[in-house]
Every structure is written in C-alpha cells, then in structure tokens.
C-alpha cells in the first residue's frame, strides 16, 4: 500500500529542521564535532555528527522535559517538527499510531542506569534512569506528551530497523487500524559507542577525516546521531508534495539480486563501513543513477530515514541535491521514483521506494 508523506521533521549533525537539512545538502557542508573517547591508552578525540535538541523548548516547557533524556528529546523534536510541517499539531490523535525504528535504542540512558548501581550499589539503582533505558522509551514519551492513543511499536533491527518498521506502518493504514502514523527513527551517540568505534576501527575512527562512501574498500565512517520523523497517511487522501512511499523490500543481497526499479534514482546508504561496502561494491547494478548523502548525517543504523527525508525534500523542491556521485550544482529532478538502499554488514538489503505525487 502506498503511504503519503504529509510532514517531515529531522534533527541531526546537519542541524535542526528541514531548512537546516536543505542548507547542508545544498552547500555540502559536513558539520562534525569532536568527541573525547576514553581509552586504555588515555583520552583521544574523534569526529562525530551530533544533534542539538534545544529547539524542543519551543514546543514543550522545561517542566515537561525534566525527566526526558537526550534520546527521547531527539525523537520528540523530530515528532513535533513533522507534525508542525504537516500543519497537524493541533489535530486529535486518537486515530494515530506511533512507530519508532532504532538500531541501538537509548544507549546513553542504559549507561546512566548502570552507573547508578555500579557506583552506589544495587540498592541505589535509579528508577528514573531505568525507565529511560527501556527500548520503547521514545515511543512512550511521544505518546504521552502528544496524547497519541492509537497503537505503538518500537522496532530494533539494527540497520534494517527502518524498512522493517515501515511494513507495520503500511499494514496499520491498510487494515484501517489508524488514520495516520507518526513514523520516526532515532539513534544516539554515547561514550561507550565512541569507545566501540575506537576499538573496532582504531585510527581510522579517531583521525580527522571525511566520509568517503564510494570508497567501498576503505573504513571512513564517522558516527552520527539524530532523528527523522514522518507523518504518514493513506495516499488516497490527496497529493502530497513530498510524494509517497510506494514499496518496501527486505532481502538478502547474497541470496537474490537487488530489486531496484530501473527508472529510479538510487540513494545508497553506504556510510563508510568497509564491511558493508563490499556488498555495495558487489551488488550495485550498473547504469543506475546514484547519490549518497551519508556525509551529511554520518554513520548510524537509522540512516535510511534520513535518506527518506532527503528523497521527500527532493520531490518537494524538484531537485537533486549534489552528492559525491552526482557532482556539480543542484539540478532539476528528472525522475519520478527514488529508491533508498541500505545494506547491512551481514548482507541484508532494505529498499524503500518513494514516488512523486500519489
């Protein structure tokens, strides 16, 4: 079933909102910051794409946010931005569902909870930290603060979280369980994640560098964080300038050929991981128009949601934003279909196809 995109909200290393995403895409600016990673050899710096959620206070007062951690704040900000963009902030949400896709879940809150009993003993474990560490924390915060009373779902399927969760959005709308779905994806950077990067990739992670997603044999990834949200409805409600999600396919690229529509512009989610790069190198079809925007938002499991946001923006603006594979200035969009492809390190492939109009 086709899903119309009525509103988009995004926050990440590129900034907050579609204007910031648009500006980053147009300029090609890569806004990494430096994080300090604690290692056995002492602290070292590493580039990372980090998200600032201060704009959330435009939507919610500090009291409402006092127990909400960074992970849920990113998700809440994405959710509010998507509803605002759709012009549906004041709508009744009793027939709305909430779906969240996340590769790693609220990692920072999990560590904060561990800290409470590792430092102070089991008896002083923090109930607030424990609550924030539960994997559906973002969906819970969003449903409570936005009064969404339809069904809720959080999916944790690593790099396939976004395409996998989209299946549920499509079925809920098709079955008539809901009239709309607030669909979002969120992942966060935290200290231990930085340590993982340091241990797995060593200097390739810590040295100052740029992501080179088309250098499939090189490890050039830079960790990212952020959230991308979409208000989805059935397509028969009318044309959306952002277009529709037409199809979602999950497969194994080592088992069957990638089913990429011939007339599609292909956004690949190659994010500088050599382990995934080998699959792109081997399985990308020839003669397909490619683009890759991971250097705008970084390397993170929910990356396909950022690609969906960029595809939606491309339809709305009628242009293709410059990327490493489509060098030159912005140019007019000459296709009606954009397919976002993500391949995991174990060869799973998720394809999300968006079409112009409905």
């Amino acid at each position: 079933m086709k899903l119309a995109i009525r509103g988009v909200g995004a926050v990440g290393g590129f900034g907050c909102g579609l204007e910031a995403l648009n500006a980053a895409l147009s300029s090609g600016d890569h806004k990494t910051k430096h994080v300090v990673v604690k290692t056995a050899q002492g602290p070292c710096e590493m580039p990372a794409y980090l998200a600032d959620t201060s704009r959330l206070e435009y939507f919610l007062n500090k009291r409402a946010l006092r127990r909400v951690d960074h992970y849920s704040r990113m998700a809440l900000l994405g959710a509010y931005l998507a509803l605002e963009d759709a012009g549906r902030l004041d709508e009744d949400r009793s027939r709305m569902g909430i779906i969240i896709a996340s590769g790693y879940g609220p990692g920072r809150a999990t560590l904060v909870f561990l800290d409470t009993f590792i430092h102070d003993g089991d008896g002083l474990s923090s109930p607030t930290s424990f609550s924030n560490s539960v994997q559906n924390a973002a969906a819970a915060n969003i449903s409570i603060l936005l009064n969404i009373t339809g069904p809720g779902l959080t999916v944790g399927q690593l790099e396939m979280s976004v395409p996998s969760a989209l299946i549920a959005a499509s079925l809920w709308l098709e079955e008539g369980k809901v009239d709309s779905v607030l669909f979002g994806a969120v992942d966060e950077y935290h200290d231990e994640l930085g340590y993982f990067w340091h241990r797995f990739f060593g200097e390739k992670a810590t040295a100052d560098h740029e992501m080179k997603p088309f250098e499939f044999d090189l490890q050039t990834g830079i960790p990212g964080e952020g959230a991308a949200f979409f208000l989805l409805t059935r397509a028969d409600e009318g044309v959306s300038p952002y277009g529709c999600i037409e199809d979602v396919i999950i497969n194994r690229c080592d088992r069957s050929p990638l089913e990429i529509p011939k007339d599609a512009l292909l956004f690949i989610g190659a994010d500088g991981h050599k382990q995934c790069g080998k699959y792109y190198k081997e399985h990308l079809p020839e003669n397909v128009q490619l683009a890759c925007y991971t250097p705008i938002y970084g390397s993170l499991p929910m990356g396909p949601a950022f690609d969906m946001a960029i595809a939606a923006l491309s339809f709305k603006q009628g242009m293709i934003f410059p990327s490493q594979a489509c060098t030159g200035d912005e140019r007019a969009l000459d296709v009606n279909r954009i397919t976002c492809l993500k391949i995991s390190g174990s060869g799973e492939a998720g394809l999300i196809s968006l079409i112009k109009g409905n």
Partner: protein
C-alpha cells in the same frame, strides 16, 4: 476497520522455568509446580532477596548455525523455535520452507539492549575489555538469530515494546500472513534474566521479595522470569498444500497507547479497553464465546487493579487467570509464552489455578480462577500491558470449523 484474521497456528514451542517444552510447561502448570528461587546466574548486593524464575537448562548443547557465539536470549529463542518448527512438521520440510516467504517477528526487552555490565565495568576502570562481548550482542538480534538458523530471507523484525513485545510480535506476524507478505511467520518472544533488569524492577519498588501473588489482597509486586516461546503462523495456502491441521487460529489483535504515564497503567484502563475491544471486533467474537482470559497479572498493585476493573466491566463472568505465579514475568517473552499457554488450555478445555492467589482483595471487583477449571467456549484472550502505557491483546480460537 478491515479484519486481517483468522491466521492458523500450526506449531508451538516454549521454554521457561516450568519446563523446556510446551508439554512439560503445561504439565507443571496443572501440577501447580512453582519454584521461584534466588538468582543463580548473577549475584546482587540488595539487602533483601528477590526470587526469580530461572530456566535450569544452560542451553549450551545448542549449536547455532553460522555464528555460534550468541547470547542466552538468542539461545532461548532458538530452542523454542526448534520445538515449534518440529511441532509444525516443518523440520522435515526445511528445504521447502526456504523456498517460501518465511518471516520472523520476535519480541524482546534485553535482547537488543547494550547493557553488557561486565564490559562496562571494565571500560569504567580504564581496562581493555574484550570486544567479543559486544560482537556477541550484535550477532544476537533475536529475529536475525532465528532467520539465520533456518536460512530464511523474509521480513525480519525484533519488536521492543517492553512487556507487550511478545504479544505484539504475534499480532504483527499474523498481519504479515493475512496481507500476503509471508507464507509462514515464526512469531514469539524471548528474554533472559539479567542483573540490570533485576535491579530496575526492584528500584521501581514493584518486585515482590516472596513468590508473587497476582490479584491477591497481599500482592506486593512481580517476580522476574526468563524464557521464550515461538508460534508457527501459516497461510491457508501453505497449510493446505502440506495438508497440515491448524492447532488454533489467531482471531484478533488489538493494540493501543494509554498516553498517560511511563510506568503505571491508566487508572481507568483506557488503553486496555480499546485493545480488548479491537481484538474482539476483528475476530467477530461474542463475549459468550470467550472461554477464559489470560490476564497480564503481574502481581503489582496498579496492574492488577486496572486489569480486574476492565475485565469486570467488559467481560463479566468470564474466567481469568495469571500464569506469572508459575513463570515469573518474562518481559518480552511473556506475551508469547502466555499465547502458547492460552492455545494449549483451549485445546485441553481447562485452565490451571491462578498461582499465588488465596485472599480476595475487596478493592478488586473480580477474582481469578482459584482452582483448576474446566472451561467452555472456543475463544481465549491474552493480554499484555507494558512500560510506556502500551497495551496489546490477542484473541485465539479453536473448533470454529476453520481448519
């Protein structure tokens, strides 16, 4: 709202404290065997001891296909999946199954959580912890573990809806069948006991330091447990092509958010009412057809108060029970384990007594089954209420002339 059901259940597998198979579990339930004890796989510095329901099997005899180093949560899922596949008769047809569209939808809470305590303690001390612990976790996504074991390449989804994950995974898996996305779906839930969640529930002051007492006047909270259950859901075409009788059917699935509180249910049970109503409506179920309700029944004061009030209002006179007095609260696995129990009880035409219940609470309008009961009617409901105010309800049916 269109009805995506009924969907056939052709096989089931279950492992939890009462037993390593569905048969062992049901036998233990009807023998009223319940053995909560202090945790053996981790130690705790709490001044009070809180009993848990551990699975005695260390599961190390399992030899997972491909990647062998996986978490206990992954092993529990595999163990239950093998029983379910065998029960469905698919162990003799694995090659055929690989040619079909077979999906995996599994609920969990700790199975995807980066809460490796040993690793983190070493990291905090500035040591160089072995990355094998992190690689093991990354290789143990429960749905992916099952897909890898049976070489499946259909949709793969790990549901992390806290305590309703297993119920939601079965409901979503049934939708995949009905929508024509899959011929077969392995759906269920899995979770291991761990020190982190143990501390978490104690910190919330909703853990009982004695065997839990769902719906009892003296109830103080839950006991944690561990386990897994997997159901084989199958399309009519697939089932008929191999002449396989359905054990039961998923008739309906309802889900909702309370939008009220992070850790407490809505006091009027707003979301639960909606989820029950939706599951009943989807299955075209009349309340006089409902044989019993498997309640979430954790034994916490708030949960049991809300649930009993909703059951009294919506399903007066329908017998209900909680089985958590036999299994403990197995979190992401609970909904799946209780789905298996519900189907098995429907098949047997009886339900065990609600373990832990002895004294009626005058504040609760109804009381659970206080003795083993013969039940009539072809339908059972199974409820799950979760952190974050999420509610999920499944309706199962047998003997409706559908098989």
């Amino acid at each position: 709202m269109s009805g995506p059901f009924p969907v056939a259940i052709t096989g089931m597998g279950c492992i939890c404290a009462p037993g390593d198979t569905v048969g062992e579990c049901m036998d233990a339930l009807f023998r009223e065997r319940k053995d909560p004890a202090l945790p053996l796989r981790f130690t705790s510095s709490h001044s009070i001891s809180y009993p848990v329901f551990e699975v005695s099997n260390d599961l190390m005899s399992l030899e997972p296909r491909g990647i062998t180093d996986i978490t206990r949560t992954g092993r529990l899922a595999l163990f239950a999946a093998h029983e379910a596949i065998s029960n469905a008769g698919l162990d003799q047809e694995l090659e055929t199954m690989r040619g079909q569209r077979v999906g995996v939808c599994v609920g969990t809470t700790v199975g995807t959580t980066m809460n490796n305590e040993d690793f983190y303690r070493q990291y905090l001390k500035g040591e160089q912890p072995d990355m094998v612990q992190i690689i093991r976790l990354l290789n143990s996504n429960p749905a992916a573990v099952i897909a890898r074991e049976f070489d499946l390449c259909g949709p793969c989804q790990t549901v992390v809806n806290a305590c309703s994950s297993g119920t939601d995974a079965i409901g979503l898996g049934a939708s995949w069948i009905k929508a024509g996305l899959c011929d077969i779906v392995l759906a269920g839930g899995t979770d291991e006991l761990c020190h982190v969640t143990y501390n978490g529930f104690i910190s919330l002051m909703i853990a009982d330091d004695s065997p839990c007492k769902p719906f009892d006047k003296e109830r103080k909270g839950l006991n944690l447990g561990e386990g897994a259950a997997i159901l084989v859901l199958e399309s009519e075409n697939s089932r008929r092509s191999r002449n396989k009788k359905a054990r039961a059917f998923v008739l309906g699935y309802g889900a909702s958010c309370d939008a009220y509180h992070f850790t407490a249910p809505h006091p009027e049970g707003r979301g639960l009412r909606r989820a029950i109503g939706e599951a009943i409506a989807l299955g075209n179920i009349t309340t006089d057809n409902i044989a019993f309700v498997n309640a979430h029944g954790t034994g916490t004061p708030d949960n049991d108060r809300t649930e009993s009030m909703v059951l009294a209002d919506m399903l007066p006179g329908v017998p209900f029970l909680s089985t958590k007095g036999y299994t403990g609260h197995t979190l992401g696995a609970a909904g799946a384990i209780e789905a298996v129990f519900s189907v098995a009880c429907l098949e047997m035409g009886r339900i065990p007594r609600n373990a832990g219940f002895s004294t009626p609470d005058p504040d609760l309008p109804v009381t659970p089954a206080d003795t083993e009961m013969v039940v009539k009617g072809p339908v059972a409901l199974s409820e799950s209420l979760a952190f974050g105010g999420h509610n999920a309800v499944l309706a199962f049916g047998i003997d409706r002339g559908l098989s």
